[in-house]
Amino acid sequence: MAITPDWAAMAPVLVLAAFALILFIVDSIDPDSTNNPLLAGIAALGSGTAMIVAVVYLLSGVGQTDGAISLYGGQLVVDGMSLLFIIIFTSVATLVHVGSIDYLADQEYQAEYYMLVTLATLGMSLMATAGSLATVFVSLELASLPSYALVAFLKNNRGSVEAGLKYFLIGALASAIFAYGISLVYGVAGALNLEAVASAVTGTELAGILGVGILMIAMGFAFKTASVPVHFWAPEAYEGAPAPISAFISSASKAAGFVVLYRVFVVAFPISAVASAIDWVLLFQVLAIVTMTIGNFAAATQENVKRMLAYSSIGQAGYVLIGVAALTGVGDQSLAFGAGMLHMLVYGFMNTGAFLFIAMGEYWGIGRRFEDYNGLATKAPVACVAMTVFMFSLAGLPIGGGFLSKYFLLLGTVSAGVWWLGAVLAINSALSLFYYSRVVKAMWIEEPNGNLEAVDRRGYPSGLYAAVIVAGVVTVLLLPAIGLFSGTAFDAAAALL
């Protein structure tokens, strides 16, 4: 469906920008405001509105039926994939805003917190629509800089500050490498627009420089998606950050990394054009296998639940890398590619929900290890049902959408002729059940340790409860209703390839 004027296709992004400004104005009127529900409400309203607009656009075929909508000379592109990912970012942001109401109750600088989350969401949405390497870099920085500040938000907590510093230093280094990679590619292609790059690099004589440039760009994305070999910041950052921010970074920020990775590699560096410079399909095959295996094995050895989730999210990144690792040119290419997008969508809900559940644990102050969750189901059965859904869905049991998206990935690998990649996925997935079910076992089966009076003392945080329950319901509903998005995801994948 066409839309007039053209720039109206960017409505979700504009809504986010407008609400970031509204928060700014509210903050300047009353800088010391601690009216947390009002601030969270404004922020959630903004991301919620953006999400609804994006859903309406996606389902009515904007940027899909008549081809992608290209704006400002191709600097921004709105198509099915960008809308799908904007839905992921905005829904994660909405859940995080709502979940932060209780978490931030006693903190300073609340308006800044919501504003930074909104701005980061804006940056991610721009990443999803970026059509040239310049906009990719700018939007990536717009998404990253607020994230660094947010990780270090609990400024009196040494863990949080240390995590923020580590995240910032590694992030700055990754950005530098990424920018250098872009400059090398620019040197070869003489263009930054993704499609122009693709036509310029075909048959280039400077294959060596191009290869190094692409490798550096790939490393930049690996940082953003917390994939091996630049994954080591993730456990620290996720563990030290306030739990709603861990949810935000591990779900939305990771998805943002994947959407640009998908677009840049498929549009700017089609494997047929750059095969002589670098075989990035092979590169991602190796990275996918190593990432999922390292993530899963490391997660299995953790004693701290938040850290386990951090490593598990590295493992999940490995699954999504299959989306590009299966672009072998054999069979139906859009299957694995679209499945990667769908997995990110489901993951957005189940992983955010899981981290928000941890936020609930931190709110109560019951502790961080598996044993500290013992018997929690006797105190908070509803939240524990939701957490059980997240864990089993992350593990790929058919209780939530995670089962289907993983299965689609498996099917995609087989149809692309890389069945061994699917086999590694299946084995890792079976292994992951071991550590995910430890949380479930602790909550439901073990006897309470006596640390749960804290739950009675602090009461039930309504905002976190609402966010966790919504995430749980959506995770379950994505099992029967994934058809709502699967068609558009596979079409979007086919349109790009």
Partner: protein, 521 residues
Amino acid sequence: MLIELLVAICLLGAGVVFFLPDRFAPKASLGISLAPLAVSLYMYAVFDGTGNALIDGSGSIAFESMAEWITVGPYALNWHMGLDGVSMPLVLLSTVLVPLAILASWTPIDDRESQFYGLVLFMEAALIGVFAALDFFVWFVFWEGVLIPMYFLIGVWGGPRRKYAAIKFFVYTNVASLVMFIGFFGLVFGLGDNITTLDLPAIAGALRAGELAALGPIGPELLAVLAFFAMFVGFGVKVPIVPFHTWLPDAHVEAPTPISVLLAGVLLKMGTYALLRFNFTMLPGVAQDYAVFIAAVAVISVIYGAMLALAQQDLKRIVAYSSVSSMGYVILGLVAYTTYGFGGATFQMVAHGLISGLMFACVGVIYNVTHTRMVGDMSGLADRMPITTGAFVAGAFGYAGLPLMAGFAAEFFIFVGAFQSTVIPNDGMAIMTGLAMFGIVIVAGYLLWAMQRSLFGPFSYDGDYEIREAARHDVVPLLTLIVLIVALGTFPNDIFFDMIQDAINPVIDMGDVVLDYGGGA
């Protein structure tokens, strides 16, 4: 739409019960579970299926419904449900046993009741789905869906070693699911472009038409064999067959007794049902080629299970191991590939469901009163608990195959069918059958001995509890089950066997045609 109604009632009921206050949960869940029972009885009354659900053109499927769900690459996934003469009795078995199990839970379950009964109803929904689904994907969702509530039911409300038993159950059945999944998808990928859905009848039809092609370096014949055994092992864990049976006694002993009723009564039948549907209907050629091996596994399960039962002191373990033995008969009947063997195997699933349900329920009632299950810890309970004792005796005779009880009809059908069978040359099946019959003798002997020691003789009991007849709501399930067992044994044909024959004869009739699987036939 009736199948969807059944599933929806159970799911909604589970949701409602989960949020009820604990004191209302037992009665509310019983009331809710009567609704699917009524619906399934109505379905049984108007049942008009005449064919096998997996064999197109063999006749009609009852209550069939089909709706598009998702399309993924080359495959359409559909919501495809329907019942035939094999699945209808099993659905009825599930809806009958669940209310009885709920009733039997009123006494022993006194903690977190609303969660307990909610999970039971959730499991009922999944069980009905397993028996009714005709699309692999829908079926697999329900299949795994049974696992999750069972894990909690054992792990939260079980006995002292419940954590170990729950994890063992979970790991065994999950690994088994993975093996089965890989085997089945080997077939799907081997069929390649010949199928466009994961519809089970379509896949069975394509396999029957010999459309299985090579998968990589693996030729079609080998692929069929590998897939058959991957699925055989995967489903065999659930049945369970020796040597994959070790999770079962642990799960049974630690599970609360009403859950043992459901575990032995319905969950084990998922394994044999899936074997019937997948292995023996889709790949009959392989099954017949390897009949000696499969029959040997069946006989070993029968004899070894019975021998293990001999060595136990715990009443629950005795019944658990004798279940291993009884399920061996089902495998023996299936591999015979005769009307009576195949049909008898299906009949045995229902008969054993009721009889083992009765036995576990009796053990549960005795445990509620005496707080022990050890044979040596009590004797002479008959005077003080006459009704329970009578029910226990009836169950034991049912296991032993007393005529006019369901077990007799089932085992008689299986033995007749197995004797007639020619799948193994030189009367091999007759020899196997002869061996398998010893299992009954051993189990009968041991059950009688256990009964004699614990129920009859002079009264003695060292515990601190007063021994008297159980409450009325504990006794009702026992009597109901006895009535059903006798009815099924007296009128086997009218109640289920005619229906079963309609559904399984198309499988038997495939005969030699199906032996020519694979390759470009």
